[in-house]
């Protein structure tokens, strides 16, 4: 498929896939302090102003992940950033009940142009993916580079040239996005149709449905 299988001695690269890296989840509302005389639960707001290191207990779970750090930084950087890989059905809700190849084709190609929050990874037994998977750009892991280099036994594959170029651009696009209200240029009729589908949207002043003809912006 779209993967290569590097030798264990090969250096780290963007697009390298690991199985079993630690993903930490933390709650700022329930910080589990590990203090000298026992454990205590606190809110981070209480700790943030104390200007001292603290020891905390956090849950950690081994997950599949892909190196997001670009190649030049994977050589010298102290830390490496990865994105979690999860089952495609859990990352793209639209695919939850998808079975037909034609539907899959549309989701993988068309939906990928629209939803920039994930990157599709096809199944590959050798990599360890028995189902369709996705990189979730919203969930990142950070691990020490030297430690990751010594754990290259957990690297099961890497993206090939075509896929890696696509992956690199998709990461860039994900962080380059900016939030905007997509309905802002719609006219009255278009907005009415939009609101029928997305009732949460709030009309802009120049889109006032009740006030009749639109006024020209100043």
């Amino acid at each position: 498929m779209i993967y290569e299988y590097p030798e264990q001695s090969a250096p780290l690269r963007q697009g390298d896939i690991f199985l079993g890296l630690p993903r930490i989840d933390i709650s700022l509302e329930k910080v589990l302090l590990a203090e000298t005389y026992g454990e205590r639960i606190a809110k981070w707001a209480e700790l943030a102003g104390q200007n001292r290191p603290v020891n905390i207990i956090v849950p950690v779970r081994p997950v599949a992940a892909i190196v997001a750090t670009q190649d030049c930084d994977t050589v010298h950087s102290r830390d490496i950033t990865l994105c979690e890989i999860r089952e495609f059905r859990d990352v793209e809700g639209k695919s939850k009940d998808t079975a037909a190849p034609k539907k899959w084709k549309n989701i993988i190609t068309q939906q990928a142009r629209i939803n920039q929050k994930w990157f599709y990874l096809p199944p590959d037994e050798r990599v360890g993916f028995r189902d369709k998977m996705a990189v979730d750009f919203l969930v990142t892991l950070r691990v020490p580079r030297a430690d990751l280099e010594s754990l290259r036994s957990l690297r099961t594959g890497r993206l090939n040239l075509i896929a890696d170029e696509h992956f690199r651009e998709r990461i860039a696009e994900f962080f380059r996005r900016y939030p905007y209200d997509e309905w802002y240029p719609l006219n009255k009729e278009e907005l009415e149709a939009y609101l029928a589908e997305y009732p949460d949207a709030k009309a802009f002043p120049w889109q006032s449905i009740a006030s009749g003809p639109e006024k020209a912006p100043r």
């Binding site: 329930k30 589990l32 454990e39 639960i41 207990i57 089952e87 793209e92 360890g128 969930v139």
Partner: protein, 89 residues
Amino acid sequence: MRGWFVWPAGRVLAVAASPATAIRDYWFLERQRRDTSRVAGIFEGVIGRPISRAEALRVASHILEQAERERVELAEWEAQRGVQWEVGE
């Protein structure tokens, strides 16, 4: 420049050791089926107070489960709101 920083030297405990693979995550799915509203209120009264190691581990486990559940819920919510184009047969 204000010279403070906090360095949470995390003492990481593996509270859930199911391996990360592409295999369907039964560990998580099983917990999705639980009554989450019951779990949510358990720790409300312990903020700021000492707790036992066992309680700390339970809270940690709950934090992990909640984080994973919320990620799946977000994906489902976005699937309802995103572009609803025809992906016909």
